[in-house]
């Protein structure tokens, strides 16, 4: 369990480094939902190649490291309806709020952005309530 925390911190430092490169070198905020959303709704049509390159790295690099581990189990649910509902909520919510855990959380909190801090408070609240309702009250997850 202690090891999980240490690896969490190490991984966090790497995530911060990734966000740092994107900010200092490319001059952009590393927000996963914004980078994807801009491709989907067309608002990022001037920066398509940069967005695609970022997502390419994000998708292609983790599987290269997977062999270092005995097992990488994502424990993802098998319920189609849970996945569809979760995906729709995440997609709609992050675009309404203009950010997710990486943009509002990592990049926003670190610059003491009020929007980032408030967004983080509310998505943590939403996530906590979701677990209370869907796991403890309804028992669907």
């Amino acid at each position: 369990m202690h090891q999980d925390w240490i690896w969490g911190l190490v991984g966090g430092l790497m995530i911060g480094a990734g966000a740092g490169v994107y900010l200092l070198v490319n001059g952009r905020i590393m927000g996963a939902s914004g980078i994807i959303g801009g491709l989907i709704d067309g608002s990022g049509r001037d920066t398509v190649s940069e967005r695609v390159a970022f997502l390419g790295g994000l998708i292609a690099v983790p599987p290269l490291l997977v062999p270092l581990y005995k097992v990488v189990d994502t424990h993802v649910t098998n319920s189609i309806w849970v996945i569809v509902a979760a995906g729709l909520l995440v997609g709609l919510g992050t675009r309404l709020a203009n950010g997710c855990t990486s943009g509002h959380g990592v990049c926003g909190i670190s610059r003491f952005s009020l929007r980032g801090i408030v967004a983080t408070a509310f998505y943590l609240l939403g996530g906590g309530l979701s677990l209370v309702i869907f796991r403890h009250l309804l028992g669907v997850i």
């Binding site: 480094a17 990734g18 070198v25 989907i40 994000l58 995906g87 929007r115 996530g127 309530l129 997850i141």
Partner: protein, 170 residues
């Protein structure tokens, strides 16, 4: 060059998510499940990432341009509004439901089975309808603005509030 560093940044982000165990939906849900078997790992991940970015912002704020010459992102002009709060609540609900948010969902796509792809497709649909939902919400604003007649607001401002869709301001 921009694309190379964007790829590098995405790669570091993805590798960090894997190393931190954040591709594991059980650990993410464990963090959100305060009344169950609580798992604090995510707090360490966020602390590490925010810690690095705190110093990066100190450097960034002294620069007018990025190392590749593009302008740095400015201060956020917009304050807390309904879309921020409502959107974050909805996002959080979905995050808790499946234990996936956009970054890890992308990072684990290659080893997350059909579930990972289905999640990305559903998320894409959610993102595609979001601009329309924003417009509906701003129509709601305009109607509520006009219901109680307020004499103190000058006519030009009322006209502005009626005629400017949120999409144009954005």
């Amino acid at each position: 060059m921009r694309n190379f560093f964007a790829f590098l940044s995405g790669g570091l982000f993805g590798a960090g998510l894997l190393v931190a165990g954040m591709v594991d939906t059980k650990k993410v849900q464990g963090w959100l499940d305060v009344f169950g078997d609580w798992d604090p790992t995510l707090a360490f991940v966020l602390t590490g990432a925010v810690g690095v970015m705190f110093f990066v912002w100190m450097v960034a704020q002294r620069r007018e341009k990025s190392y590749l010459g593009s302008p740095m992102p400015g201060a956020f002009p917009r304050l807390v509004d309904r879309n921020l709060v409502l959107g974050s609540l909805l996002f959080g609900a979905g995050w808790g439901l499946a234990g996936l948010c956009p970054g890890p969902a992308m990072g684990s796509l290659s080893f997350n089975g059909w579930q990972g792809w289905l999640f990305i497709i559903a998320m894409g649909v959610g993102m595609a309808v979001a601009p329309r939902v924003k417009d509906w919400l701003s129509i709601l604003d305009r109607t509520t603005l006009e219901v109680p007649p307020c004499e103190n607001i000058p006519e030009e401002e009322r006209a502005l509030a009626r005629n400017t869709p949120r999409a144009a301001v954005r």
